[in-house]
């Protein structure tokens, strides 16, 4: 809905405008710390990723922080230490994993504490409940069949789930085709809040088109209100027009102290997958 409103602002420009790449002259940035944390009710998923901010025109990945002290306290009791990249995988530099694993529980509160040098960063989040996914079905898309972007991919996958009306829920969706994360546009973020939803999520199209026998997987993460706000703000920042017709860009509101960017997300997860078939 918000995307549509943003698009309105662009619509006049779509009719007439020309675009050109320009080089902008930006001042030196004060370095910021970015903390990305995730705890779910699935044992394998918990991690904390620490990186530094980068220059606008920098190439390559951001600098990783590999010597921080990271721990999570559960319900102000048990403390779980996180260890940096225990298996020494090059791709996992900057990632910290719970020693002995961490399987979250709906309703528990988790407090993250990250110490980098002299600075301390903290965040607190509780795990909200998640609904279940009833089913994933498929639909044949005639217009995509007539002119497919990728040969063979002309099926859509539809999500069906119940949406409990007696509580406030927010969700983040991730869609995978054969284990690869897919989005319709690189800057899409798929979040929903139930304030605008009706009773059911019925036949909601997920991102992407699929070929027969592709494995489509949907991950549905429950979000706290704060996490939903973070992802909405992030989506506005990634998709905005710079403040001409839409609100001016701003950093997303997050739950981490001491001016760190990023978010400490604690979610319950609902999963489902389907092998794409022809529904006709």
């Amino acid at each position: 809905m918000k995307r549509i409103v943003c698009l309105m602002g662009w619509s006049m420009l779509l009719l007439l405008a020309c675009e050109e790449v320009v080089i902008i002259d930006i001042e030196e940035l004060d370095e910021r710390v970015i903390i990305e944390g995730l705890i779910t009710d699935q044992r394998q998923q918990a991690f904390v990723k620490l990186t530094r901010s980068r220059d606008f025109y920098a190439e390559g990945p951001a600098d990783r922080i590999t010597n921080a002290l990271v721990e999570v306290t559960i319900n102000d009791g048990e403390v779980v230490q996180f260890v940096h990249n225990p298996d020494r995988f090059p791709a996992l530099e900057g990632y910290y994993f719970p020693f002995g694993g961490l399987e979250g529980v709906v309703g528990s509160e988790y407090r993250l504490s990250v110490r980098i040098g002299e600075e301390l960063y903290e965040a607190r989040e509780a795990m909200p409940p998640v609904t279940t996914i009833d089913s994933l079905t498929t639909r044949f898309d005639q217009s995509e069949f007539d002119d497919p972007q990728v040969s063979g991919r002309y099926y859509q996958v539809l999500l069906n789930a119940q949406e409990p009306q007696d509580r406030d829920d927010q969700y983040l969706f991730k869609f995978y085709r054969n284990d690869t994360l897919i989005r319709d546009f690189p800057t899409d973020i798929y979040v929903a809040e139930d304030e605008l939803l009706g009773g059911n999520i019925a036949e909601l199209e997920i991102a992407g088109y699929y070929a027969l026998d592709d494995v489509a997987r949907v991950e549905m993460y429950s979000l706290t209100r704060e996490a939903f706000i973070y992802y909405s703000d992030l989506s506005n920042l990634l998709n905005g027009d710079g403040g001409l017709f839409s609100p001016p860009p701003a950093n997303p509101r997050n739950n981490i102290s001491n001016s760190a960017l990023g978010y400490f997300q604690v979610s319950a997860l609902a999963l489902d997958q389907v092998v794409v078939y022809d529904p006709r």
């Binding site: 809905m1 918000k2 549509i4 409103v5 309105m8 619509s11 006049m12 420009l13 009719l15 007439l16 405008a17 020309c18 675009e19 790449v21 320009v22 080089i23 902008i24 930006i26 940035l29 910021r32 970015i34 990305e36 990186t51 530094r52 901010s53 606008f56 920098a58 390559g60 990945p61 800057t187 304030e195 939803l197 009706g198 009773g199 059911n200 999520i201 019925a202 036949e203 909601l204 209100r225 704060e226 706000i229 506005n236 920042l237 990634l238 905005g240 027009d241 710079g242 403040g243 001409l244 017709f245 609100p247 001016p248 860009p249 701003a250 950093n251 997303p252 509101r253 960017l261 978010y263």
Partner: protein
Amino acid sequence: MLRSGIALLFMLFSLQLTAQNRVTLSGYVRDGATGEELLGATVFVKEKQNGVVTNGYGFYSLTLEPGKYTFLFSFIGYETVERKLVLNESLSLNIDLIESSQTLEEVVVVSEREDENVTDIQMSRNDISIAQVKKLPSLFGEPDIIKSIQLLPGVISAGEGTSSFFVRGGSADQNLILIDEAPVYDPSHLFGLFSVFNADVIKSSELYKGGIPARYGGRLSSVLDVRTKDGNNQRFGGEAGIGLLASSLMLEGPIKQNESSFIISARRSYVDAFLRAADQDNLVFFYDVNAKINWRASNKDRFFLALYAGRDDFDFGDTFGFDWGNRTATFRWNHLFNDKLFSNTTLIANSFDYGLGSTSATNAFNWDSNLSEFSFKEDINFYISPSLTLDFGYHLTYRKFAPGKIVPGATSILGATELQNEQALDHAIYLSVKHKISDKLTLDYGGRLSYFQNVGDYTLYLYDDVRDNINPTRIDSIQYGGFETIVDYLNFEPRFGARYLLNKSTSLKLSYQRMVQNTHLISSGTVPVPFNTWAPSSTYLKPQVADQFALGYFRNFKGNSYELSVEAYYKDIQNVTDFADNASIFFNQDLPTEFRQGTSTAYGTEFMLQKKKGLFTGFVSYTWSLAERTVEGVNQGRVFFANYDRRNTLNIVGTYEHSPKWTFGGNFTYGTGRPITLTSGTYEFGESYLPDIITERNGYRLPAFHRIDLSATLTPQKARKNKNIETSWVFGLYNVYSRKNPFTLFTSIPLDDDGQVEGDGTLREARMIYLFPILPSFTYNIKF
């Protein structure tokens, strides 16, 4: 204030009665060819070296001792009429002025009253001549007074192709735009490419940037008072214009000659016809209709009925569409109680609405929103003597704000939601005195008392913390019944102006005004879009209050051929309405949690040199200005540049009457770039997102823009007066050297030609949007 105002009135009345036997000359000044009243025409008494100006309906009144006088009636563009009269008793005299013909010789008659720039007490006001607007180059060949306003000193535009304007450090919603006394909430068509003002029907348009008279209120920064023609009551005629993007037709004529007349005009764009022909799914069109009837029942009573309706409609394929429009209806009654007391009673009904709809299977919805208002106004001009005029009156407006309801489609996953309506009653009573103290000094003082009530039917929610916009928590609700006052605000707005004549062609002027705004635009972008809603002052939104001082130096040269004005202003706004960082302003049930009101400071200097006579006319305007805001909750409470802050603006505008057939026009415009909130770095988040880091609101500045536009008008028929049909062609060239003027800047991920992400996905780039390269246009006009 009220009591002393009434006391003053009584005192002046009794002064009247006990004074010597004075006589009054009064009447209307009109265009001899069409019967249209001329507002702002000067009636000057030579022997008294004093005079008055006709009011908004062309009425004047001069009360003098009996005697022999020479009266000069003049108005720019018309031949001055001189009448020598012996006044022994009061006399009603209507004067018809004839348009001065433009000849190849220098215009010989120089009226003393064309020094209005110097002698009139009004400062910070610009009259926009429609005749002049039509001779100048315009975007797509559509003459537009708002684009012309953007060339005046002290007025800034957000960028090309927009119809919003920013006056002396005020945002776009701080301008009171009136068409025949009815407010217009969105003056734009096609997102600002055109404005709702059809140049064919405009009689006069005045922009007040400061020294705003007490009869105006409701917005902080400016008043654009546009009046449409009443309709030629002598003969039937019309005009048609065919342009590249839109065409218009106007018909006017007498219903009963010299007594009543009508004017009707319609304008429609046909961009949709082109798009349909090109097999495009996207359609866009707009239309305007203006209609007016007026009836001069007697010399004492006149009635006017004016209607306006306009609409824009966009459709994007089958997926979604939106439309918006204004509708106004005004009924006015001019009544002369006696030859000194002129009354205007107005009834206005006004509505602005928009709708948004999407027909996609899962996201289908319809959103409709509407603002309607009804007003009653009583305005009186009391011409006590040539040195003393009183204006006073009472205005009452009822407004209903319906921000919207979402109705989902049958298969939509969205639920139905509705935002509450709000209602407000806006009362104002004003008095202003224009007082010539001596030959050199004239004062204009007075004030406006505004009383604003936010009333029910309404449920007011109380919040645990009204600034918590992450988890807004309502703790209580209070139910208000119909027209029950929820909160009220009383404000006094003093208005003061002074003009001191240094000599016959030089003056100094000073003004102070306080303006109060109780209708707030809910928009946090720089350029308002039609679906920004308006909201009344309420429990959570305090009235915005602006204080402005202005000082000016005015000088005329070479017998009033050149007018120089230099003005400096300082404006301070309390409770300027702004929104928290990351505010969600569309369809937010807890919108009060996003309001952040702060202060705004703006100051600047404006310089304008105009050449008003001769074959070559035009002006140079230069403005240096600065506008900044401090709002808690925005930019961490630190001061930041306002969205419309432009340091330097230079406009050079000229028209050259080469011959009766050919007129050339041109303008050069230059402006410092506006500020924009831009990245200062990026970071990694999620599987591949690269968000920008924002450290400073409006910390970056777009490059400057400048361009030259040219136009040529060809009028083939040599004699313009006595032929029945006059045709003309206007050829235009917009952005002659095709400069890529930056419209806005945004960051994105570089994509290659196939639309795939370039490189390893860690790259970012900045893209600039620019709108119009060199654009030729032509318009064909017929006048009959």
